[in-house]
Symmetry: C2
Subunit: 254 residues, 2 copies
Amino acid sequence: MIGAGNVGFHLGKRLFKKEHNIVQVFSRKIAKAEYLSTKIKAQAIDDLSDLVIDADFYIIAVHDDAIKEVSDKISQKKGIVVHTSGSINTDRLDKHSEYGSFYPLQTFTIKNKPDWKTIPFCYCGNNSSSEKKIKQLVRSISKNDNKITDEQRLSLHLPAVIVNNFTNHLIGIAKDICFKHSVPFELLVPLLRESLKKAEIHNPYEIQTGPARRDDQKTIKKHLSLLSKEQYRAVYKLLSESILKTEAERNNKS
Amino acid sequence: MIGAGNVGFHLGKRLFKKEHNIVQVFSRKIAKAEYLSTKIKAQAIDDLSDLVIDADFYIIAVHDDAIKEVSDKISQKKGIVVHTSGSINTDRLDKHSEYGSFYPLQTFTIKNKPDWKTIPFCYCGNNSSSEKKIKQLVRSISKNDNKITDEQRLSLHLPAVIVNNFTNHLIGIAKDICFKHSVPFELLVPLLRESLKKAEIHNPYEIQTGPARRDDQKTIKKHLSLLSKEQYRAVYKLLSESILKTEAERNNKS
């Protein structure tokens, strides 16, 4: 397991639980490697030249920017080299004879235990032999296995950023507004949950409500007057415009 | 019950279930009034001059823009006049001697049954007598009663629009991207659910991840190259910038 961050940590534990033998855990910070390695009976290393040469898999779970560098440094291994990134093409691993993608489509934090049963796993391999073996690895820890090309993975990573990073940011803004106006965010939690449940099931454009959709400039102005931060005003304005555009487009079509 | 739209429909049913006597249901469209009135043993009317004068409550659940007009038309009633809006000041109802706010903080659709146990109810009255009676009405259908001023209600309505309308729109964009790139949105559902769960519990700014937070221009460019629609590109760019700004601000402070 190369990398002991959020993804490497949970993936290492999951593989161990499903009776895989994790030989080594690499991290540039040895303490981080050790934190994971002791849990999964592996050797902790902080130097890639200490990697064994005969593992079945080398799982690169490092930051996107470091994938190519790490891959190039660990050449001449016998096993299959995979990375866990959503946006990096697998050809970055092409120094190896067998390589591919091993991508759990979920957000991981060391503190929170992932629910592996619900996590969709995406994979692909550079040839049918590697792909078959990667698929087996996926199936050993997940029942939700999805063969996905590099192109498809990037097409998934973009909306993943939207539903994760962007909605998270918006909730951050909402919490900040509540804090600044001394109203409890807790009052909004049932609304937030219901909104998401509805958006999942229905076409969000069809069920859209609110001031932007009905071009209610009076309410929009009231809201903007509450936002002293220019950054938030810009987000509010642009998203309201975007909702209105979508609505106009839908009306033109029908 | 004045208005038989999403809010009036569910509120009427809830009050009826809790053994309130709903005398009349008004809607400009008589069929709409009838659809609700038959369920709650009330009289359907489509003319405000047919309103009885001695109801305990007149609940105005119409569009924001129509509240003042409706309120002015129904003067000289004995009961308390309330509206269900999040953004309209209660002084719009000041033609009446007793009035106030009766605001369920949730998104309603006729099709979907609301979970009344979890819905926060906000209320206020123009004097202590009306406020006490409105509170009693709230408590008869909800255990989550919150005395909220007009100003506080608007301060809640703004983040409510963000966590409902804006996140709904973003999920709409994500679904549209999946559709255009022929990848199944279903693969993103576990991520969406987990993201929301985390954002609820933690400070979203602290747990933010992704290309925008780490100023990963390579991935941002890749994502933008997948977005042919200028509207979506603008949303992606602005939210990425906003995430980066928040991050920079947080780093400056610490």
